[in-house]
Amino acid sequence: MTSPAEGREALPPALREAVRRDLAPVTPLAPPWRRTIFLALPTLLVVVAVLCLLVLRGGAANVFSLAGGGVSLLEWSTGLGLLWLAMREAVPGLGVGAGRALLALSAGVLLQVGLGLLLWWSGGAALSGPAAAAVGAQCATMEGAIGLPHLAIAIWLALRALPIRPRWSGALAGAAAGLLADSVWHLACARNDLEHLLVWHLGATLAMAAVGALSGSLWPRRPGLAG
């Protein structure tokens, strides 16, 4: 079998000209883990700051329980993992693939469902009627307010690379933003009933994943030399 290195080809003049026109030095993209930390670290600092605030206010028992700080840290860690996958998926040759991306997204959703069940079993009292909707809408709004800046930065970080499957990169980045937002807002939300957690908290995460996937689909493709 021949070596692929055999036989060299001359650079076509049109390509040489196109490259010559724009040959400025470029700074290589930071590795996926560094771009992940860039986005996730500020969120962790916010989570820790809120935890400290709660401790100072005398809620130490809640903060150090699974239902309090535990859920936040679990969600933050999972969001971190999804964000890392989104950053990897955005670099050609490092992609995780559609199957693994779907698996990771499912794991993120299952985690939030599992944590919701855990909180509900630990004593969630359900609200009903307009009050439930009002509280839910407030949670969704706050999660959006925290998550959308995360989402915008995550999408920008992912799509400024060259995602081969931008829809999956976007969905992963969106789900990560949703989980990171919930890791912060969960500390402020006192509702533990299952309906509230699944509809408004998980719903916000899924909505952000959908927005991320949509952003990826709409990402413009660059034309080549031949059009």
Binding site: E6, V91, G224
Partner: protein, 191 residues
Amino acid sequence: MEPIGKSETVEPLPDDLPELMSRYQAGDAAAFEELYGRLARSVRGFLRTLALPGTEVDDLVQNTFLQVHRSRQTYLPGQPVRPWLFAIARHVGLMSRRSSGRRSRRELQPFDELPELPVLARAAGALDRIALGRALGDLAAPGRETLWLHHVEGFSFREIAAIQGISETAAKVRAHRAIVALREVFVEAAT
């Protein structure tokens, strides 16, 4: 045929491609020219496995390197260059195929558009180069692509998985099925 998982027939490329790529990222035009000279032929062969006609492949090789140029900041220093570049080539090829409405079902690719086929040295006597080319052209595109990447380009299944966006196991299964299909073609031809 070579057993799946081994590619002892492929000579390793000199591993100075990352250094070339870093020079290119720093604005060295000669480094780009060197990269093109060394990799264009491989990229052309690979693009043809995606069932694209020869005339279009020439344009796509240029488009691949143009995309490489526009995205050169996405290469991470120190990483292998070829998986990065082949993932871009595959993306460019699939985009082109999708935009022109072609599908990866058993394409009836004319034989004269198949790439020059490297044949295993010990099999060269037994296998008819033309028959091998025809049989490869008759394989489903995903299997042919995987087979090509592994046995001709020497990529590991892990690298192939990253290029194709599938799991390592799926890449092995695709290659295995393609080998089985090829074997059936030759058994039928011999009987």
